[in-house]
Amino acid sequence: MNELERHSPIEREMTDERHYFVSLLQNAMSFGLISEQELERIQGESAELLIRQITRYTNGSSSSVRAETAQELSDSILYSIGVALKSVGIADATDMLKSMPLSHLFVKGQNGIAKKVSVCRLSHASLVRRLFPSENEFYASTVRDGIGGFFKLYRPEFFAHRTIITADYPTVCGEGNVCGIEFIERYLHNLYYENAFLRCFDPNTAHSFLLLHNPGYEKAPANLCEPILCAALLCSLCDADPSALILRRENFDTLYALLDGKDRDELHFYFSHAARKLFDRLSCDEVLTQYMTRAVEMLLAGFENAVRFHTLEKFGYNKSI
């Protein structure tokens, strides 16, 4: 919650990101913020909206559709209203539910979705132009064709909630429980920063390292950023050159000497310090540093276990040098 946001007894964590409108409404009802009468109005207006959408969908030529289609049209309406409600704080969103006709919220949501689509198209084009060259089959194909295909097939006016993409390539931070354009927005956001991080490394160096880490990486739907980040972080921790991505036996000896017997807080301190040093050395800007710091936080448990069980070598032991 930012400083200007009004207080609400409903916390963001109480809501369901995927079904935001319905979860907000349920919470508002349970806190007595919305009356039975207001709920009845909202229910009536949601049925009217669905009738309107079915009529639009059939171009007015049919008064009935299959139940699955009606369900999808209904989900799309609820999703669109959810997008409108998410654009403001929870207290304001509750007020909007009480005071604005659902049809207005729907239009507001559809406009919000249209804006998101435009912004995502631009950031997709920018990402494709600056795509890190990789031999991995899934990276370029997902970013170029997968996301490109989404824009071709996405029909927000009727099916705004649909995530028409097989996102084979996973990101380090994940996209959370969202769908439709919100999924693509987060996916592109994550890909953008992970790609920017990858571009801090020489593609040939990265390729050699990734082959060492996983000989089948070219054909695996595996994240490229995570193994590179882990290795670079360990390099930073033992004062090796992170851009070379080479960890020798003596580097691991140094790392075990440094980290053995340290408790969780101490380990977190060491890794956080090494991450800051790494991002400085790679000249990562503030927003990239923020994203990558979040990525490091997600990897800390794995490092903790690797130190405890002496398996840090799995992050990239180069025996040949």
Binding site: V22, L25, Q26, M29, L39, I42, Q43, G44, S46, A47, L50, I51, I54, T55, Y57, T58, N59, S61, S62, S63, S64, V65, R66, A67, E68, T69, A70, Q71, E72, S74, I77, L78, L153, R155, F158, F159
Partner: protein, 163 residues
């Protein structure tokens, strides 16, 4: 909390549908046909059942009302079979609506049913549902009398084809 589809079964909408059917009596009376409120309610209940059985959602009761206006002047509809014929026609309408993957509008399908029923079917629902619907199916899809491809039907319905 109910939002969306479940609200289509609300008592208010059912009452509206019954009133719509009863308004149709103004025209059908000219042909000696009339539905009581009880019969109108039964027709709406049957429509809801047929919609459930065929997996469809309807936004209003316009099809039922149009059936009444169209068929009340049929030489093959009389007081004794009026309600049963409407129920049967309604069922055929929704079944065929599913089979045609929305390739035909409500009005076009109703017009086809009326022309066939009064024409070469001589009021036979069997001929309408068998021979004449097969002919229409063939005209729409260019297929022999077989079921249409289910997968293309799903694709169409899921909005990947033109609405």
């Amino acid at each position: 909390m109910e939002l969306g589809l479940t609200l289509f079964q609300s008592p208010a909408l059912i009452k509206k549908a019954v009133n719509g059917i009863l308004r149709g009596n103004d025209v059908s009376r000219l042909y000696g046909l009339e539905l009581s409120e009880q019969q109108a309610k039964a027709l709406v209940e049957n429509r809801n059942k047929v919609l459930r059985d065929t997996g469809r959602i309807e936004t209003d009761s316009s099809v039922l009302e149009k059936l009444i206006y169209l068929f009340c002047d049929s030489p093959y509809v009389s007081k004794s079979n009026y309600e049963d014929t409407l129920n049967a026609l309604l069922e055929l309408f929704y079944i065929f609506k599913n089979e045609t993957n929305e390739k035909i509008s409500d009005d076009e399908l109703l017009e086809f049913m009326k022309t066939s029923f009064d024409g070469d079917c001589f009021g036979s629902l069997e001929l309408l549902s068998g021979r004449d619907f097969s002919a229409l199916r063939q005209k729409l899809f260019g297929l022999c009398d077989t079921n249409t491809d289910a997968s293309s039907s799903d694709k169409e319905e899921n909005g990947e084809g033109d609405a």
